[in-house]
């Protein structure tokens, strides 16, 4: 029997303060739900129930003692963290055999910030190996299933975090997004997810995939909770030299301003023949909701958007091939037995990496190798400039660009696993945003045959608040964020 509690973080925090419910009750319920649903959904790779219960019990006492106003914003709120962010002394596998059993000697900055904010980290979530994938099928420990339909993928690579929130196991989770890995699973699981501006959130302790693109972002049921989690983890960190020294606004206050005055641009290119009619129609209807709210919606053009995907599949693997050179059997994780150094390296990496990771290491090594650098990598970097200019031009007359998160509905497990290019196409609308370093937010905008459809809002660098305001206003006028998959109903 799972008792009913408020599902969101802000609502939970208010209920703790009013002493309607205790953090222990909520953590127990979260663990019970994980025990019931996760053998099938497989959102988690590790759950630390004992530690979560102990922390919850400590928060019980502090709420009982009164003065809840003095307690931090996520006090006693359970959260989940993607398993590519370091948690000191507890497993961090990146969904890879090569890091199986490794326990990091330090916490990622986002993990430190979550703990300082009072959050209880209940576990680490499943992902495509080293965050390379769009379906969470490339995890070495088996795929995650979509809570809306267990025969379909949850999106990836942060599929475990998205599924954990959508199934009501936790109200909040962190993911990472290199080419869409927060926004795609948020869209496929019917929840809110955001990739902040490059540099907004510290990546110290995030296991690197493609360093010029990687960014950590929040998942939540609704925009207000997403804003709360972003505010908690955002901000400059001297330990990450790419983290920007830009003030973090009070996002909750920004939400109250409404969407008045925001201009939304809609790129023609994002509604072409490759987009499923149900997706295009749901996003078009969402734009009508904006119009009805007095938001000015106009047509824009992103002419280079088609070139973003091929450019990304040169840049990201190139950076990955360099970043993943560190898995050599010396400092952490797996080591294949051999007396010969070269053989130890090569055999460790053969045994430790899965097919998609090997494919990207090979591709990246090839495009960076002598004689090919200018033909591929340098060319892709020039395309990156064009993609960024497309957005710059758009943002000279609109504040937000709206388009689908993905061209299709969540696809079936196994459907694209054998064809890498088909899989890569899922990220056609999310990748340009990473190349330009801009913030992007995914939110639910409808359903088709019981499957969620996501809309993506993209903004100027460091203007996450504008996206949150627009998304919040949309949410106030629509019911989608209150929909829950049938499995999330209390048992």
């Amino acid at each position: 029997m799972e008792p009913r509690h408020p599902s969101g973080a802000l609502a939970l925090r208010a209920a703790y303060a009013a002493r309607d419910v205790r953090p222990s009750d909520v953590v127990d319920a979260a663990l019970a739900r994980i025990a019931r649903l996760d053998p099938d959904l497989h959102a988690f790779l590790h759950v630390d129930g004992d530690r979560a219960r102990a922390e919850a019990s400590a928060w019980d006492g502090r709420f009982r003692a009164g003065a809840a106003d003095g307690l931090p914003p996520l006090a006693g709120v359970p959260v989940a963290v993607k398993d590519n962010m370091c948690t000191r002394g507890s497993p961090t596998t990146c969904g890879s055999r090569i890091l199986e059993g490794w326990r990091p000697p330090y916490d990622a900055t986002v993990v430190t910030r979550l703990r300082e904010a009072g959050a209880i980290i209940v576990g680490k979530t499943n992902l495509d190996e080293f965050a390379m994938g769009s379906s969470t099928e490339h995890s070495a420990f088996g795929p995650t299933r979509n809570p809306w339909d267990r025969t379909r993928v949850p999106g990836g690579s942060s599929g475990g975090s998205a599924a954990a929130v959508a199934a009501g196991m936790v109200p909040l989770a962190l993911g990472s997004d290199t080419g869409g890995s927060v926004r795609l699973p948020a869209g496929f699981c019917g929840i809110v997810g955001m990739k902040p501006t490059y540099g907004r959130v510290s990546r110290y302790g995030l296991v690197a995939f493609a360093s010029s693109l990687d960014q950590i972002g929040p998942f939540a049921f609704d925009v207000a909770d997403c804003a709360l989690l972003l505010r908690t983890v955002a901000g400059h960190d001297p330990r990450d030299s790419t983290s920007a020294n830009v003030p973090v606004p009070d996002y909750a206050a920004a939400l109250a301003q409404g969407a008045g005055g925001i201009r939304v641009g809609v790129p023609d290119e994002a509604f072409g023949p490759g987009v499923e009619p149900a997706v295009a129609s749901a996003v078009r209807q969402a734009l009508e909701v904006f119009t009805a709210q007095g938001v000015q919606v106009e047509q824009i053009s992103l002419p280079t958007i088609d070139a973003a995907l091929p450019a990304y599949y040169l840049i990201a693997p190139a950076e990955a091939s360099s970043n993943l050179a560190r898995y050599d059997g010396v400092q952490y994780g797996l080591r294949a037995a051999s007396d010969d150094l070269y053989e130890m390296y090569a055999e460790t990496r053969r045994q430790g990496f899965g097919a998609e990771v090997k494919r990207r290491i090979m591709l990246g090594t090839y495009v960076l190798s002598a004689g090919y650098y200018e033909a591929y990598y340098l060319k892709a970097q020039r395309v990156r400039t064009l993609v960024a200019r497309d957005f710059e031009r758009a943002f000279s007359h609109v504040d937000v660009v709206a388009m689908p998160v993905a061209p299709t509905l969540p696809f079936a497990l196994g459907e694209r696993a054998a064809d890498p290019l088909q899989m890569y196409l899922s990220d056609i609308f999310t990748i340009p945003v990473n190349l330009a370093g801009l913030p992007g937010l995914a939110l639910p905008c409808g359903f088709h045959n019981g499957l969620p459809i996501g809309m993506q809002l993209v903004g100027r660098a460091f203007e996450e608040a504008t996206l949150l305001r627009a998304a919040h206003a949309y949410e106030q006028a629509t019911p989608w964020h209150r929909e829950r998959p049938p499995v999330a109903a209390a048992a």
Partner: protein, 97 residues
């Protein structure tokens, strides 16, 4: 655009990655198809476009030269596959040593 086996072997050597025969065949075919897809970039007029390696214009981020605690050596070594006397232990590196 096909990639031949010799190129696959060369790249695998650079990447320190042992391949099975099946990998070799599959990667030759798949990498060829991905690169062919990426070749569509050749249709864009790029000659006068500067490359972007990084979206934020930052260079030489420095910090104050003050000593802080580093990671605990024993904790780091405990997480390694093999260590000895305060060092990572690896197979013999120097010939004849």
């Amino acid at each position: 655009m096909a990639i031949d086996r010799a190129t696959v072997d060369h790249v695998a050597h650079l990447a320190r990655l042992a391949l099975t025969d099946q990998d070799r065949e599959r990667f030759a075919e798949q990498l060829g198809r991905i690169l062919e897809y990426c070749a569509r970039l050749n249709q864009l007029p790029l000659a006068d476009v500067p490359p972007t390696s990084h979206v934020i214009p930052i260079t030489n981020v420095l910090r104050d030269d003050t000593a802080t605690l580093s990671l605990d050596r024993d904790e780091v070594l405990t997480a390694a596959p093999a260590h000895e006397a305060g060092f990572f232990r690896v197979p013999k590196v120097l010939e004849g040593a």
